[in-house]
């Protein structure tokens, strides 16, 4: 046949029958799927400030690492992003290799949290958790792993308190917010963020989710659900799919003041590059980040373009800088099979070399 098609009606009818069979199987599968719980690893609360809680993860064996590793993720996310299920858990991978892993759970801000600022998040909550660990473990400094916006927070903290961060790992962390391929940044650059926050108060999670889906609208809203049909006869695959769905749509609202400051200083002002980031009374200068830094970015990241993360190299003061370029996207770096093999091992090896 001439043209782009190489199928006849018979083949198309066969394809349709296969689709029908999958949909038919789906009727059974979707009724049988169990509740999709997440959070595969046992954890215990060790510190709290308001709605923010510091958890320690418990692995099957006692940690061999002397210095704890604290994970700080983005405010729009939930902590189980790094511990979704047993075979998709960066936390499990780190524990299995002997790391002593903690995570800060930012909680769900409500209207009474509207006036939380970046100073609250970075100094009070993140700093409070770090100080708790330093006190509890009698250490001057701990290891910090920041993910996405949590990585930006970690960078700010490390620049403001370099003596308290022994090693810094950043994952899919935006640094240069004005690279040409940063769609989210393009959208907020002419946003009147004062008007926005004054009007909305806290920024609703559903609105944030809609914006994130709009970054790849056809893949994330159409193709993904057409692809769901392929796995409808596989209960486990459907449960994995639903667990991911639950995670993606389970987002906290954003505290208004912190959102305002983050958009102004980071997205609009590009403060890591241009200067001008102020957290409370402190000015953030990445040149003061002198501890060893491992920077992990995703090659197909549609939220934080690799160029945005890679800018870190030229801005920090550290002479000990390492990069890991991960083949995957912003989500895959936590949950894909490749991530489970590469990410915890890389972090562990890198930390181990610096623990002597």
């Amino acid at each position: 046949m001439n043209g782009p098609f190489d199928f006849n009606p018979e083949a198309l009818a066969q394809e349709a029958l296969k689709l029908q069979s999958k949909l038919g199987a789906g009727l059974g599968t979707l009724r049988d799927v169990e509740d999709v719980d997440y959070g595969a690893t046992t954890r215990e609360e060790v510190w709290r400030d308001g709605k923010v809680v510091l958890y320690r993860f418990r692995g099957d064996t006692t940690p061999t690492a002397r210095v704890p590793l604290l994970i700080s993720y983005a405010l729009v996310n939930r902590p189980y992003m790094v511990d979704l299920q047993a075979d998709r858990s960066i936390v499990k991978g780190l524990l299995a290799r002997g790391e002593d892993v903690y995570i800060i759970d930012w909680g769900y801000p409500d209207r009474s949290d509207r006036y939380l600022t970046l100073e609250d998040y970075i100094e009070r909550f993140l700093g409070g958790a770090i100080d708790h660990l330093r006190d509890a473990r009698q250490l001057d400094a701990i290891n910090l792993l920041g993910i996405c916006q949590g990585g930006a927070f970690a960078l700010c903290y490390a620049a403001l308190h370099p003596g308290k961060v022994r090693n810094l790992v950043t994952m899919v962390t935006p640094v240069d917010f004005h690279t040409g391929d940063n769609m989210l940044s393009n959208w907020v650059r002419e946003l009147d963020v004062d008007l926005f926050v004054d009007t909305l108060g806290n920024v609703p999670a559903d609105l944030m989710n809609a914006c994130y889906l709009d970054l790849k609208p056809f893949r994330l809203n159409l193709q993904k659900y057409v692809g769901l049909v392929d796995i409808l006869d596989d209960k486990r695959a459907v449960e994995d799919f639903l667990r991911m769905e639950k995670w993606i749509f389970d987002s906290p609202d954003q505290a208004g003041e912190a959102f305002r400051q983050f958009v102004k200083q980071f997205y609009q002002g590009n403060g890591f590059v241009n200067g001008g980031i102020r957290i409370g009374d402190g000015d953030v200068h990445l040149g003061l980040v002198e501890m060893p830094v491992l920077n992990i970015f995703a090659e197909q990241d549609h939220l934080v373009p690799p160029a945005s993360s890679k800018a870190l190299k030229g801005l920090i003061g550290s002479d000990d800088y390492t990069e890991l370029s991960f083949r995957g996207g912003h989500i895959g770096i936590y949950v894909s099979g490749r991530a489970q093999k590469e990410v915890p091992q890389t972090i562990h090896d890198w930390l181990a070399k610096r623990s002597r």
Partner: protein, 348 residues
Amino acid sequence: MSTQSPAEGFEALARQYWSAWGDAMRAPAPGMATAPGAAFGKTPSWQDAVDWWSRMAQGGNADANAAIERFNAQARDWYGQMQQVAARFAGRDAASADIVAAWKRALGDLGGNPFPDMFRAMRGQGAQGFEQWMEAARPYLDAWRKEGSTWLGMPTFGIGREHQQRWQQLAQAQMEYQQHEAAYNALMLQASQRAYELFERKLREREQPGKQLSTARALFDLWIDAAEEAYAQTALSPEFRAAYGARVNAQMRLRQAVQGEVERTSALFGMPTRSDLDAAFRKIADLERSLRNLRDQMQSSRGSMGNAATGKASARSEAGGPARGAKAAKSSPKSSTKGAAAKKGARP
């Protein structure tokens, strides 16, 4: 009353649909030598089948139900239309331009401006865009506009002058939002036109034997690639940046005007308003902050007194001090022992 179970009902409908489809594909429609797919109108549509399926697939699992809802909202129309376009050209020599023209017509049936229409359709539980607020607020906005339509353009005077002025501003804000929404939609329309061009180019690239598409699904995926590429070009452009910002800002101005009216009405009946709550929350936040500062200062003083008494400086405070002393650490950033900060152009 039917004794069929829901699953049997679906099987029956799907069988009917696909069997009719298969027949339509195999036999030319009356009066047409080579037009497979022309008999679709007489059969239950793909949309009917998926609707039916979605209803039956719903069960007690909320997560599964939400996914089914999204599947139904997204996959039903777009994939169904693409299946039919594929069917129309199956087994024939097909020109890429004809396929794109058929796809364009199919999307035209879904709505005039397919991209924003899709965005509207794809919202649901867990994702609500700016357009959803407009839809939710529309009855109220329309009522206000209707109420004031007779005097909105008139000069304001007399005892109701301030009210009239405010309502005029609200109507103005609504009009401005509509203008910015139109400008945004125009860019989206451009993106969809570009998507058709890219789709055709990608189809042409598949005309060589060995590169041809072998399923309707592959055709659908190719369209997704084209649409995503065209959309990204637009969404990353300076024009889009300006249009997006203007649209959101206009909606915020409109929302503020609406909120103002609601507050005035609430105040009239002695109800607490959002401003009241925000003022209270701000006071609490400020009080909490003052209290923490006091506590930190007290702990810091106690620490200093302890250190002075023992004559020992804490090794930890040399490393930057605990959080209670965070202010001191911040105001005097650690001096660089390696000069690295200076090397990288830090601005201390």
